[in-house]
Subunit: 117 residues, 2 copies
DNA sequence: CGCTTGCTTAAGCATGTGCTTTAGTATTCA
DNA sequence: TGAATACTAAAGCACATGCTTAAGCAAGCG
């Protein structure tokens, strides 16, 4: 396919997997090493590392290696664009109802008027 | 794989594609038919229909057929769990800093001993 | 009626994803 | 030093995804 993915693609894609969301939830409570993150899961450590690579590629997680230990932490700023995209959708949608309300208020089937906020 | 996907999996997965996000953005401005939704894209109509199926499976979009025309609309309630998950992550993360701040306030400069608690 | 419209279904294909196992490479410690 | 620890890299496999084309079918229209 060869097309470069947008940031939002990577973030939503990263969060679409329950293992990765569990990792993010764990990291929300503080940094952790790779093997600490892998412990709760039955899958191999290599598989968890691959999930971490997806999370790092999306920017949700950063890590640094000290000695032989890699410590991972959440980069909560990376979640903001996704959160905002969702909020914007809802805002647009609700705004639509506001306009619909106005339209209905200006074209009355019934006399009362002060009902719309 | 045979494991049933959770709602959040389906929603995030659905939003991980730019075509599908564009469709959701379009539907945010009001309902539309399948061919109206397909028009902006260079891909085949069948491909757009498949994207719509993903969106419907996630609950983000509903549709009903009248005559030979299928009209799609956004189901903004389906976005809420995703929005809340993201907000919760940020909340947990920020709360962590609050607690850290408290800790640092009550334990002024102490000689460090262990590296990790 | 036959023709166009608006999907719908199915098959097929290239690429991506989520694992596995195996085989490394640095560190750290007894 | 030599063994355990903590990853890291790579290959391989089953299944999912994002398209395509082709064929079909039920409205609606002239």
């Amino acid at each position: 396919m060869l097309k470069q993915a947008e940031p939002l693609d990577l973030v939503f894609q990263a969060l679409a997997d329950p293992t990765r969301r569990a990792i993010v939830e764990r990291l929300g409570r503080g940094p952790a090493t790779v093997s600490e993150l892998a412990m709760p899961f039955t899958m191999s450590l290599a598989a968890v590392v691959q999930h971490l690579q997806v999370l790092e590629a999306s920017g949700i997680v950063t890590s640094e290696k000290t000695g032989r230990v890699r410590t991972c932490r959440i980069e909560s700023a990376a979640l903001k664009p996704a959160e905002r995209w969702l909020a914007d959708r809802r805002a647009t949608w609700e705004h639509r109802f506001d306009r619909l309300g106005e339209l209905l208020a200006t074209q009355p089937t019934d006399p009362p008027k002060g009902t719309t906020p």
